[in-house]
Structures are given as C-alpha cells and as structure tokens.
Amino acid sequence: MRSFVSARLSAASVTATHVSLGTPIDNEPPEATAALETVHLSRKVGERAVVHDVSIRVSAGEILAVVGPSGAGKSSFLRLLNRLDEPTSGTVLLKSRDFRSIAPRQLRRRIGMVMQTAYLFPDTVAANIAFGPRQRGEILAPARIELLLERVGLPGFADRHISNLSGGEAQRVALARTLANEPEVLLLDEPTSALDEASVRGIEDLILGIVEERRMTCVIVTHNRAQAIRLAGRTTVMEAGRLVAMGPTREVLHVG
C-alpha cells in the first residue's frame, strides 16, 4: 500500500510527478468500509478526458476536499458522483452498491449536492426546503422546516421570499434544502466561493457541525487551500482530470 507520505505532493510538484492512484487501495480511508467509492471513474467529452481514472474511497463521517487549479475537473468529478453526468468508464459505489443499480432519483436523494450558486426556486424559503421531500410525496411539517432553518442559522425565515435573501442566507437555505432529503453523502461544489469572509466561516462551521452530528460522508470541491485545511481530514489534488495526490490535508498541502 502506498503510504500517505509518498503521496505528499504539493499542487506544484505533482504537475511533474503524476502519481498513479488508479486503485482504491492507494486511498485507503480511515475505515475499512467506504460509504462512497469511485472505481477507475472517467468521463470523456469528445476527445477530451475531463475526468480520468479516478479511484477514491470516503468513509462515513469523513470530509474529503478536492482541490486543484481551474479546469482541473473537480466539479466534473463531483457531478459524476450523483450521476448528473454519465461516466464513460468506471463506476461509483454507494455503500458498496453500484450506483447504476439505484434509480437516479433515489440516488440523488441519498447523495445530496449543494452547488456554487444556491439556485433557489422562485418561491418562499419554506417551499424550497419542502421541495425534495415533496418529490416523493412527503409533506414536510412546518416544525421540521423551522428546525432545519434553526440548524442553518436562519430561524424565522420560512415565509420569506428568496428574493429577499443575501448570498450567504441563500446558500444556507440551499444547504437546508439538501439536508431536508436526509442524504447519506453531501457533495459541496465550491459552496462559499461567492460569499464574503464572514459568511464563509459561518457556512464552514455549519458544514463541520452537520457532518459530525449526522455522521455524513462529505466531498467538498474548493479552490481555497485554507478552506480545505479548516474542513477536510483528507485532500485529493486534481490536475487535468487526473487525481495526482491524496492524503491527510496538511501533508498534501504542505502545511507545517
């Protein structure tokens, strides 16, 4: 097994020294059974490989950061995990089950995703939060909506129209909307990139708290190395669609 130390490569140094991490054994998570696993996951668009042979394992309660320069394929990789895009080869295992054997709607309920932009629906905050459960015929009780809003730091916001929210508030609502589906895995695609510093810290604290209390599996894409250090126990580095380094965040990002 390749040790984490051997994978201690900074974003700069790995450019020249690509590490083969094509097998899950290279990325052994803290626990033996991975909640989420990718096996030789690849996606080509035309002749271009936007994600190439990525194999990782993430366990329950773990936050894995995916860092890398713009155009490295981080978001493309994340979109493959909840099957918003189709892999051209390889697969994703959710609790050891191939994701193609799970109906897409059910898969996306179990693997929730918060995007870079909140993309709230033009309605009230409560309607947005109730959207996911409503898709499977469940009516979310007002008390439950309020509980979710309290958890994301927005008590009393249920009846507000989304047009009256700040960027940070909208992103918190997007997080509450995803949590209303009670996902097992949380995918975060640069969730704080459009926010000011105060809002960034608030959302980060929220993510840490929620992942810990729900023992969720979380994969966060970020271009912010400091954010990866604050949130993630392990970090992967992607470049040109390939996974070029993986290990404990401080080691991978060369934090002394």
Binding site: E86, R100, R177
Partner: protein, 277 residues
Amino acid sequence: MLAELQNSIGNDVLMGLAQAAGAIALCAAVVALCGWQSVHVEREAAVSMSRGLVQMVLVGLVLALLLHGSLLIGSLILFMMTIAAAITAARRLKGMAGALPLCFWSIGAGAGTIIAVMLATRSLRPDISMLVPVGSMIIANAMNACAQAIERFRAEILAHVGQIEAGLSLGAEPSVTVAPYLQSAVYASLLPRLDMMKSLGLVWIPGVMAGMVVSGASPVYAAIYQFTVVAMILAASGITGLAATVLMRSRAFSAAAQLALRPTETPALNRASGPAH
C-alpha cells in the same frame, strides 16, 4: 375538368392580363423617372417583372388544375405543406438530433386534429377549393406556434440549467424541473394567436372573410365563419405548442434523468448517456 379550366382562363384572364399590362406600364414610367435621376434599374426591372409575371401565371395554372382536383389531391397538398412547415420550423433547432420529426409530428398533431374536427363538424367543406386555403392557414399558424414554442423552450432550458440540475439533485422528475419553462414556452407560442383573436374585426379583416364577401357570401356569415377559422387556428396552435414542448422535453433528458440539452457540450443531444438504472 378541362372545360372548367378553359372557362377560368377565359375573360377573367384577359382582363387580368390587361391590368398587368397597365401595372407594367406604370412601373416602366417609374423606371424611366429613376433613369432621369441617374438611378439605372432598367435591366433589373425588366427581368424582375418578366419573371414575376411568368411565375405567377404558372402558379395560377397549377392552382386552377388543383382546385378542380379530388379530396385526395387536397389532402396530399396539405401533407406536403406540413412537411415544408416542419422543415422551416426545424431550422430553429439547428444541431438538435430529431428536430425534423419532432416538428412534423407536432404540426401534424395540431393542424391534422383541427382540420379533421372541422371536416367532421362541417365547419370545413370537403371541397378542395375550401380545404386547401383554410388548411394552409391552419398549418402555417401551427408552424409558427411550433417554431416559437421550441425556440422559447430551448432558450429557457439553457438559461436555467442551474435550477434544473438543482431540482434533479433533489430527486425531482425531469418533467417537474422544466415545468415552468414548458408552460412559458406554450404561452409564448399562443400569445400571437390570442392577440390575433383580440384584434379580429378591429385591426384587420382576414383574407378568407374578404374573399367570401367578394364572392357574394353574406357578410355576417363570412364574419362568423372567419371567427370560427381563427378559433380553430388558436386550437391548432395550442395542440402544436404542447406537442412540440412535450416531445422536446423527452429529448432534453437522458434515460438516467441527466440534462442533455446544455450549452457547454455539443452536440448537446447526442451525448453519451446511460440507462436509467
């Protein structure tokens, strides 16, 4: 049939040729006036007028033959018109696989249903001289509705990729995620027809009514009949707009409920996609 054709090429044609000669003389005078101001269009004007006259006489002869044909010929003409309309509307969906059949079936569903209903309810006589002109009006409007609906629906989807994928990520059916955009596309395609209905008789008197009055029909009956035709056009447009957007919606997503119609990857609808599960 030939005897009727000969009759139609009788005195009326001679009178028409005399009127055309007068129009040519007037145009020639205008061309001479232009020449006096050093704007020389003599050659172009002569060629254009000659071509225009010959083409229109030929069209008139073809129509004279067709208008005395059977119902089958009338149906064939409408079928060819539907194909031509589908080709025109499909140009709005450049690059989208299956655009032509989508437009053909949508226009066919709208115009075909309404023409059949009109024939069944005797609002339209099974007579080629009525079937072709009224049918062509319905097909032309269905074509416009189809083009407007698909263009708007595509633009709305491309402008709301984030919202649609946010909905998909929350476990929504693809049809739920694009429902507001489908509704606005169908509404947009109906709007010109609704405006046409509102302005009927106030801003414009359509050709069918004018033709009926000129040929001796009761003006009141002609007016009511024109309303019927415009109402049928509205109905045909509604069916066409709905059919076009529903068909397009099914092509906008893969079997695994992935949004295939996206601005970043082309050709958008030919992307590799997996089975549902």
